[in-house]
């Protein structure tokens, strides 16, 4: 099958295809790969083989709502077409998806909890969350494991549906993850999708938004905490092709330790017909120590001036020696001082995820990584 060529804009992907051969092997100079340390991808970007299968378990919903579907024409229409070689390989090497279907007009009170566990070796997998019209659902997807994993999550929010989704990447320190999280919004659909990245040696998340009808409202939230040389890369692409939709993108990252690198690219494209849209994107980073580097590149491309709002912001701040001195001069030990600052920095974004128990769990993982011992925690914070 020949690749679909899309009219060139600055930020929309040029090639969309399920065939890996339609994409060159990246060499690192390409715009979308220039921040990624390719040598640490464990070959995912070249010609990988599937050596294992991820274990995907779904809890919180009746088993009859979960199916395994092969990648036929029907499924292709319901998932995002790959825009890079890794994604194309992931469908070639795992040509099926776990599909969770929520019927129209159902409100699920329980959280749907999905666990994607990737064993050692290279594996590929796909998840589709199909939300019917007027349905309301909350789904939390947790990625764990040790290997190199490439895959996708497609969230198809039907007309007037309300979807709260969270994707938490907490693989082991040596793991590599390249994942796409695609949100597709029907008429007046409302989606809040949060990405939380903590784990891995290299984690590269491509979060994309597509509107199929007017009135969609997408809230994208992101939190990443990288330390000890981790590479966390988040690339957002919101494609405003429909009128009167809204997008709001907020990513916050904290970095600690020499060699740690985070990348945030926020591309928003407002196409000529997308009048009356409202979009805002912001990335804030907090650098906790010397030698950690945060790259942050917001891009807003407007093909129409008839918008309600369009803006972006990016700022990287440091937790500096003077702040540390001030807190310590009040008796607060260094680790607790860092914890206070990081907790303060992440508090609002965690609250906004709207996923029960998630803020506490994520903060305690980060506390641990900041070296806050249980004892000190008990005595001081409570």
């Amino acid at each position: 099958m020949s690749p679909v060529m899309v009219p060139a804009t600055d930020h929309a992907p040029v090639v969309r295809s399920f065939s890996p051969g339609d994409f060159e092997v990246p060499h690192g100079r390409e715009e979308e790969w220039r921040f990624t340390p390719l040598t640490r991808l464990q070959g995912l970007h070249e010609s990988p083989e599937a050596l294992a299968e991820p274990e995907i378990t779904v809890a919180g919903i009746d088993a009859s709502a979960v199916q395994r579907l092969v990648l036929d024409a029907g499924l292709r229409a319901r998932v995002s077409t790959p825009v890079d070689r890794i994604a194309a390989h992931s469908w070639q090497l795992a040509d099926h998806a776990t599909v969770i279907s929520i019927p129209a007009e159902t409100t699920l009170d329980d959280l749907i909890a999905v666990q994607v566990h990737t064993p050692a070796g290279t594996s590929f997998g796909h998840l589709v969350v199909e939300v019917g019209a007027f349905a309301t659902v909350t789904v939390l997807i947790t990625f764990t494991g040790a290997g190199a994993f490439a895959g996708s999550v497609d969230i198809n929010a039907g007309d007037h549906s309300h979807v709260t989704a969270g994707s938490v990447f907490e693989s082991d320190r040596q793991a590599v993850t390249a994942a796409r999280i695609h949100v597709r919004l029907g008429r007046d659909a409302n989606v809040r999708s949060s990405v939380i990245t903590l784990g891995g040696d290299l984690t590269r998340i491509h979060a994309t938004v597509e509107y199929t009808a007017p009135g969609g409202d997408a809230e994208l939230l992101g939190l990443f905490f990288a330390d000890a040389g981790q590479h966390h890369e988040h690339r957002v692409f919101v494609d405003h092709s429909q009128p009167h939709c809204r997008s709001s993108v907020t990513y916050k990252g904290a970095l600690d330790g020499a060699g740690t690198h985070t990348v945030w690219i926020g591309d928003v494209l407002v196409r000529a017909g997308a009048v009356g849209i409202d979009t805002y994107e912001v990335n804030r980073n907090l650098v906790l120590s010397d030698g950690a580097r945060a790259d942050s590149v917001p891009n807003l491309e407007l093909e129409t001036g008839e918008v309600v709002g369009a803006g972006h912001a990016s700022a990287t701040g440091r937790f500096d020696d003077e702040q540390l001195f001030y807190l310590r001069s009040r008796g607060i030990p260094e680790e607790i001082a860092r914890m206070l600052v990081v907790r303060g920095f992440f508090a609002d974004i965690l609250r906004r995820t709207n996923i029960p128990d998630l803020p506490t769990r994520i903060m305690s993982i980060i506390d641990d990584r900041l070296g806050v011992t249980d004892l000190v925690d008990e005595v001081i914070s409570a």
Binding site: F325, L327, S329, R330, G331, F345, V379, I380
Partner: protein, 258 residues
Amino acid sequence: MSTLEIRNLHAAVETDAGPEPILRGVDLTVVGGQTHAVMGPNGSGKSTLAYVIAGHPKYKVTAGSITLDGVDVLEMTIDERARAGLFLAMQYPVEIPGVSVSNFLRTSVGAIRGEAPKLRLWLKEMKDAMAALSIDPTFAERNVNEGFSGGEKKRHEILQLELLKPKIAVLDETDSGLDVDALRVVSEGVNRFRESGDTGTLLITHYTRILRYITPDFVHVFVDGRIVESGGPELATQLEDEGYERFIALAQKEGATP
């Protein structure tokens, strides 16, 4: 009763051009119950003295000693010094984005007292302490020093002083940048602290204005990195009338004959 003892203290600041000596032999003893005013011209090294006591990493002690009740302060980390009972109200308090005043205060009080205060009691304690300093209750939810005016920052420093109840407090130009009303409110806070027990106060100032509200037991004139003259409150009056010129000349003369 606590004693802070500073002996022959020499310290240098780390600059790009290497260490630059600032403190040149400071001798000072502050005993609980006493208030000492250290007065000197700008650039004489007063803040450096305050920072060295608190353990700021930019300053290196090159000679001399500081002890608190006989224990070597210079061996302690910054936070250990605070937990040992030292407090510094800073001339330029630092903004801490993302950390609310209430969270900061509770963590700090917990660290100093050794256990987190019980939430209900704590809220009342904080509210009362803020009211005494005419600090708007909404400040509890604001980020530490972020967007505070000069006067608000100084009140917030004194709020910490009153909540942390140190053995020895160093107040670095707490009076600067305050209008008359704020100066009175802040001074009342310092006086409450002084009367709260056998606490020692080292009041660093450039002007005599604050000494109308806070009467010191001892006044030291600080020039060129050391104390050149000490006396009672009358020395402050003399400084108000004459300025620092005579002492600067004196320091230069002494400096010329090592």
